[in-house]
């Protein structure tokens, strides 16, 4: 208990230091994690700053998908749907319910709404579809993600097809950094507990797991809900860092991107999910430089080729099922 508290405290301090160094903040406010970064005073070029924020969000998405996909062994393709729920819940709560509160209240309420909203939909979805498995589960969750997207597209209150503009921005790098480390910590601790063992057992051999007294339905629901909770948090961070929401962002392409991060890093490995998220965030942006240099629009071509190459050279993913030392169970 002590150790976890210390680790959390270290995360907070790391986030604050990061904000102080990179964000151009001064230590004069208690709401440092919920303050819009002043990009003109930042040491980092705003472009790099936003890439780093996106990277943190992708790490949360990828590691949370690792819980469903890698640890429990369920193939889902609707992660962007949960992210969308989180993003729109958070933005709506902040803009319609707490328009004049300070950013601390706004952010905590927004994230709470995002996490609970996404978790609630995860619960409903898991209760209705977890009798399916394999490709069928993938199909249904893919459909679910699209249903969510189309539903939001038809709600005029949140902008509909125009998108949601003027979402208050107060997410900074320190905050995102803290949340991604927090997600990793939660999922690591979960993996090394009786629940984690039950999840891996279900992935390895569901029938044998049920004969060990494990209710596979219950465990699957737990992992699904927790994972969608974090996807919702990622959505909230996304909404309040971009300032603009469009349903286009949350199409199934986003879900596939997250799956690609998982597979690229190594299915079932938390470290792998992190690496996958980092690589797949940097790669398309880094290739812009290459494109500027060559002068031909082949960015996406190289992007696709490099993913194919990695999968040919290391089909088990970059980490396989291995973990970095600080994330391993021993």
């Amino acid at each position: 208990m002590k150790k976890t508290a210390i680790v959390l405290l270290v995360f907070v301090i790391l986030g604050l230091i990061l904000n102080y160094i990179l964000g151009g903040f001064s230590f004069n406010t208690l709401t440092l994690f919920f303050q819009k970064p002043d990009r003109f005073q930042s040491l980092l070029n705003p472009y790099y700053y936003s890439i780093l924020i996106l990277m943190g969000i992708n790490i949360i998405l990828s590691v949370s998908l690792c819980l469903i996909n890698g640890l429990t062994g369920m193939f889902t393709m609707g992660h962007a749907g949960f992210m969308a729920i989180g993003a729109y819940c958070s933005a709506s709560v902040v803009m319609f319910l707490f328009p004049n509160s300070n950013s601390f209240v706004q952010m905590s309420m927004g994230m709470l709404a995002a996490g609970l909203g996404a978790g609630f939909f995860g619960l409903i979805l898991s209760f209705s579809v977890l009798r399916l498995s394999g490709d069928y589960l993938g199909m249904v969750t893919l459909g679910f993600g699209e249903i969510i997207r189309i539903a939001i597209l038809n709600i005029d209150k949140v902008g509909g097809a125009r998108g949601m503009t003027d979402v208050p921005q107060f997410v900074n790098l320190g905050g995102v950094f803290f949340w991604s480390l927090f997600t990793v910590l939660v999922i690591k601790h979960l993996r090394d507990s009786r629940y984690g063992r039950a999840m891996i057992a279900i992935k390895e051999n569901e029938m044998a797991a049920t004969f060990m007294g494990i209710s596979s339905f219950q465990v699957k629901v737990k992992s699904f809900v927790l994972s969608s909770f974090f996807a919702g948090i990622a959505g909230s961070l996304f909404a309040h860092s971009q300032g603009y929401l469009s349903t286009q962002t949350f199409s199934f392409v986003k879900s596939f991107e997250v799956i690609a991060m998982n597979v690229l890093g190594g299915l079932g490995s938390i470290s792998g999910s992190i690496i996958g998220a980092v690589v797949l965030t940097i790669l398309p942006e880094g290739l812009r430089k290459v494109q500027d240099f060559i002068g031909v629009d082949i960015r996406m071509l190289i992007y696709a080729l490099s993913i194919i190459l990695i999968m040919i050279l290391r089909p088990q993913g970059m980490m396989g099922t291995k973990e970095w030392k600080w994330l391993s169970s021993k």
Binding site: S193, I200, M207, F211, M212
Partner: protein, 253 residues
């Protein structure tokens, strides 16, 4: 009242009768054998007891309560452990973790304890780990505790399956062909182990086996199943000399 009672149990898949009016009753603390030619319905009986199939007719009573309608994990929690004909280990997990999974249902820690790693959590984990190591020591697998289960040789995988089933602290242990694929040395060692465990823990064991030497050596009471019907039962000597059994196995002139 019998410990486990299968009463007039019948199971049919469409027109195929896998089991027909099977009556089996087990007393506490005795090692039973279930034999019969291939396709006789032995594994089907295991599957009915453990809740994979619901019997078409009849009933299964465990300590006086009906098992029909219970899901497999509920049956396991009631104290019925089983192993499988084709080994079903969690291959990517370590040997000790395989055994630790069986303690899932007795675990008291919730997700909150899991996150904070408080004393309750670490005590429980340590307890599970220690109990698992004891079971591994019992089966002679201590030195492999941290190896991947999938990397164990075949004979040791069989033993690990039994260790894992024992983790449930079962009152009834169902072993589905524990000696299948083992060489004679391994078989005789396993025979000794099963007998020893059964005596030490005073549990009821029902085992399916084709290795007659093993069955005749350790089983006190044997059921013979042929084509879904219970042909006869009795102690090893009775069963061995029963002309009906010889007919079922070898045929008649």
């Amino acid at each position: 009242m019998a410990f486990l009672e299968i009463k007039k149990m019948g199971l049919s898949f469409g027109g195929l009768k896998a089991c027909h009016d099977v009556n089996i009753s087990l007393e506490k603390g005795i090692l039973y054998g279930l034999i019969g030619p291939n396709g006789a319905g032995k594994s089907t009986i295991f599957n009915v007891i453990t809740g994979i199939y619901a019997p078409t007719t009849g009933d299964v009573l465990f300590e006086g309560k009906s098992l029909v309608g219970h899901k497999p994990f509920e049956v396991a929690c009631l104290g019925i452990g089983r192993t499988f004909q084709n080994i079903r280990l969690f291959k990517q997990m370590s040997v000790v973790e395989n055994v630790m999974t069986s303690f899932f249902s007795v675990g008291k820690t919730n997700l909150n304890d899991t996150f904070w790693r408080n004393e309750k959590f670490s005590n429980e984990e340590a307890e599970f780990h220690q109990k698992s190591m004891e079971l591994l020591a019992l089966m002679g697998l201590s030195e492999h505790a941290d190896d991947l289960a999938g990397s164990l040789p075949y004979g040791k995988q069989r033993k690990l399956e039994i260790a894992r089933a024992l983790g449930l602290n079962p009152k009834l242990l169902l072993l589905d062909e524990p000696a299948a694929g083992l060489n004679p040395t391994e078989t005789s060692e396993l025979t000794r182990l099963i007998g020893e465990i059964q005596k030490k823990r005073n549990i009821t064991v029902l085992l399916i086996e084709h290795d007659m030497r093993l069955v005749m050596e350790i089983c006190k009471h044997i059921f013979v199943l042929v084509q879904g019907n219970l042909l006869c039962q009795g102690n090893p000597a009775q069963v061995q000399n029963d002309p009906k059994v010889i007919e079922a196995y070898l045929g008649v002139d």
